[in-house]
C-alpha cells in the first residue's frame, strides 16, 4: 500500500510540474487530469474511497471536461504557444518561486511535526460521509446548496434568450 501511495504521489507531483511547464494548453490539461487521478489514488490508499471516486467524477470527469470544452471554443493556436513560451522564461517565475520557497519549507516542517497517521486502516464509508455531512456539517451543506441554487438560477437567467416574447 505504501508503494502505491508513493508512486501515486510521485506521479501527482511530476504531472503537476508538467502542467505548469507545458506550452500547449491541451497537453497541460492532460497532465492535470493525470495529476487529479493520481491524487484520487492517493485518497484511495489513505482509505478515503468515496473521496477518490468523487475526485475522479467531479474534478477529472466534469470540471476538466468543461475546461477542455472552453478551450475548444477558444481556437488557441501557434501564437498562444509562443506567448506561453515567453512566460516560461526564468526571470518571470524565479521571483515568485523564491518567495514561496519559505512557505514550502514551513509546510514540510509542519507535516513532519504531525503524528504519523497510517490512515489506510480506517476505511471511510460513504455512509460515514453522509452522516457527517447531514450531521455536524448540515448547515454548511445547506448553505452550499443554497449558493449552488442561486448560481443555477443566475445561470438560467443569463442564458435565457431575450427575444422570447
Amino acid at each position: 500500500m505504501m508503494l502505491l501511495f508513493y508512486t501515486a504521489a510521485a506521479v501527482a507531483i511530476l504531472a503537476t510540474l508538467m502542467v505548469i511547464t507545458r506550452t500547449n494548453v491541451v497537453h497541460a490539461l492532460l497532465y492535470f487530469i493525470v495529476s487529479l487521478i493520481a491524487v484520487a489514488v492517493v485518497f484511495y490508499t489513505l482509505g478515503a474511497t468515496f473521496a477518490a471516486a468523487l475526485e475522479v467524477i467531479v474534478y477529472a470527469g466534469a470540471i476538466m471536461v468543461l475546461f477542455l470544452f472552453v478551450m475548444m471554443m477558444l481556437n488557441l493556436g501557434q501564437s498562444t504557444q509562443e506567448q506561453e513560451k515567453v512566460w516560461l522564461k526564468p526571470r518571470l517565475w524565479l521571483g515568485p518561486c523564491l518567495l514561496s520557497l519559505p512557505l514550502l519549507v514551513e509546510l514540510v516542517w509542519m507535516i513532519r511535526q504531525a503524528p504519523d497517521a497510517n490512515a489506510a486502516h480506517s476505511i471511510i464509508e460513504a455512509r460515514d460521509i453522509g452522516a457527517a455531512l447531514f450531521g455536524p456539517y448540515v448547515l454548511a451543506v445547506e448553505l452550499a446548496s443554497l449558493l449552488l441554487l442561486a448560481g443555477l438560477v443566475a445561470a438560467n437567467h443569463l442564458a435565457r434568450r431575450e427575444d422570447r416574447s
Partner: protein
Amino acid sequence: MFDIEVGSALVMGLILGGVILISAWLIWLERRLLGVWQDRLGPNRVGPLGLGQVIADMFKIFTKEDWVPPFADKLVFMVAPPIIMICILLSFAVIPIAPNVGIIDLNIGLLWILAMASLAAYSVMLGGLASNNKYALLGSLRAAAQMVSYEVFMGISLLGVVMLSGTFNLREIVESQRDGWYILPQFFAFIVFAIASVAESHRLPFDLPEAEQEIVAGFHTEYSGMKFGMFFVGEYIGVLLASALMTVLFFGGWLPPFGIGPEDSIVAGIFWMLLKTMVFVCFFVLMRAAIPRPRYDQLMSYGWLVLLPLSLINLLITGAVILFQGA
C-alpha cells in the same frame, strides 16, 4: 479444479477476453438485426450465418494504413482512442457476472463506473480536438456537452437504487434484489438511466457527435485503421456495459426471473446474466433501427427539462418512501 472466485486471474482473463469478443461479435449481431428490422438480409456470406464477417472486418481494419494527419496534435491524437477502451474495460471490473464470478468487489462499485464513464468522455473530446479538423471539433464539442449533461441525471437516477439497497457495491445491489427487482420501484429511474446510457455511449438516436449527415463522421473523421477500430469497438463495449448495468441495477443481475431454476448456481447465473444483457443489447439495436436522431438543442433541452426533473422527483419520492417505511 480451477479456482472460480472473484478476482482470480482466470476469471479476470475470461471476463475481459469475453467482453472484447462479445463486443466484436456485437458488430455482426447489430448488422444482422438491423437487416432483420429493415427487411434486409445483413451480412451472411463469411462463415456460418456470416459470423466470420467480424474476423474479416478486423483483418481489414488491422491492415489499413494507420494514418496520422500531418496537421494533427500527434501525441493527443494517439492517446485518445485507447482511453475509451481502457475506461470502459475497467468499468467491467466491478460488474458481477454470477455468484463468485467477477473481477473485483469494490465498495464504491457504482461510483467507479460513473468515474470511468466520465473519464471516457476525454477520449472523444481529445480525439476530436487533436484532429485539428472542423468537423471533428464540432463532433467533440457535441460529445462533451452531451456526455457531461447526461452524466448528471444518470448519476441521480442511480441514487434511487443506491438508497433502496443502501450500498454502492454492485454485488450487494444484486443480492438485495432477491425479493424483487428494482425495475418496479425504480421504473422512472430505469427510463432515465436507459436514455442517459444511450446518450453516454453516443449511439443512435443520440449519435450527434458523429452524425454523418451533418459533420462527416464527427470526432473520428480523421481516424483510420486500428485507432478508428478502438473507437468502434469501444462503442460496442459501451453498449455491452450499459446493458450489463441495466441488468445488474434493475433486473436482478444473475438472479433467475420468477425463481426459475437454481438461485446460486454459477452456470445458471452466467446464463441469466448473459441472456438479460443480450435482451438489452438488442433493445439498443432496435432503437438504432427505429428512432431518428433529434436535433442538438432538442437533445439538450430534453435532458435538462425532462430527464433532470424526472430523476429528481424520482429521488425525492424514493427518499420519502424509505423515510416513511423506516419510520
